[in-house]
Assembly symmetry: C2
Homo-oligomer: 219 residues x 2
């Protein structure tokens, strides 16, 4: 449906900002390809990544109602996104009420993911946080068909994982080594294989229900 609206398709290179914090937008962006993140810069030039986005995501849908972006949006790999004018989205919502349901539901799922990250960062150890993030991204990537049966190519540096999980890069490195030593995952560069998915899930206390996927991707 969205693809039938007037789109402005644009490609972005690795580590390129698509939207900056504080900007006012007149379009929503739909991810067609690639891997994006929302982030924010805090005191001492620390960065907090707020969420990751894959194809099919609408990472700034909120600009439809909120004046100013409270975060930046960046491409982590070379990515392709489509910009859809707010006016076109609103027209579609007027003509077809189910569009409202769909998009609203989407933004509520988005909020559910924030809640999960909040508990992840707030209440779990470094190992559990990483396990949880791997589970989430694996399931989401599988849902859009860019993961293998039991492994995936995760286009994140350890520093980016650290920025997402509120850890230091050094500690992420050591914790990944722990996970490997325990035989839960094996890694080759950015490719990771799950040797013991069940244990990974347990370590990360991962329950995919919050993702609100209609089809069951794993189990």
């Amino acid at each position: 449906m969205l693809r039938r609206l007037p789109l402005r398709v644009q490609a972005f290179g690795t580590h390129h900002d698509i939207v900056r914090e504080g900007e006012h937008l007149e379009d929503c962006c739909l991810v067609l390809e690639g891997f994006l993140c929302r982030y924010r810069v805090v005191e001492r030039s620390q960065r907090q990544i707020l969420s990751f986005h894959l194809s099919g995501d609408l990472p700034d849908l909120q600009s439809l109602y909120l004046d100013e972006m409270d975060y930046a949006l960046a491409a982590l790999t070379s990515s392709v996104v489509a910009f859809i004018p707010h006016a076109a989205v609103r027209r579609a919502m007027d003509e077809e009420p189910s569009v409202v349901d769909l998009l609203w539901r989407y933004s509520l799922t988005d909020a559910a993911i924030f809640r999960d990250w909040l508990t992840n960062i707030g209440r779990r150890t470094a190992e559990a946080r990483i396990a949880h993030l791997f589970c989430e991204l694996f399931v989401r990537m599988k849902a859009v068909g860019i993961a293998e049966e039991m492994g995936f190519q995760l286009p994140l540096s350890q520093t980016e994982i650290a920025d997402a999980l509120a850890l230091s890069p050094v500690h992420v490195n050591r914790t990944l080594q722990d996970l490997r030593r325990e035989g839960v995952i094996t890694s080759k560069g950015k490719y990771h294989r799950f040797e013991d998915w069940d244990q990974l899930r347990q370590i990360g206390e991962f329950d995919p229900r919050y993702l609100q996927l209609r089809k069951r991707v794993c189990f």
Copy 2:
């Protein structure tokens, strides 16, 4: 507008659960009076409070679209809430499209608060987290007229503050003492006075824009 819909008004006592995790709801709840929180229980019986809610809030609006609650909702003080059947909300949305805008915008603001908490818990020290929380709650309470000019009655125990900020109660206690020693706040029981609002704001890196309040409450 909401108050004109069919309401079932109900009072809840202190520390009483209003909705439990995993429940399926047929009504949305509107806070009329009191102080509520969303929370979740994690491994080792630790609790993560996800947000606080005052009168005027709709802390489970998402139940309109998501089948299962991913958090519990509890009254922290004796509170009064109104339950509105989903069907009635939907009818109101059909009859008056601006209701959709209003509620959707509300749920997007809700998500913006999550993002703020995420960076707060992820990237700030204990002192900054507490300062930030105090600022947020003060501004929100002022917006609904239940705070004084430069002080407020915060109905939270230090344990509840700890559960919200992912700290231990002991550390919250000591950090509050630091804030008092620095002359930023003074406390008498649950009443806190801001002796140096500007410094509190700075410590907590607080910028109220994310709250999307139409009227400027402070400064």
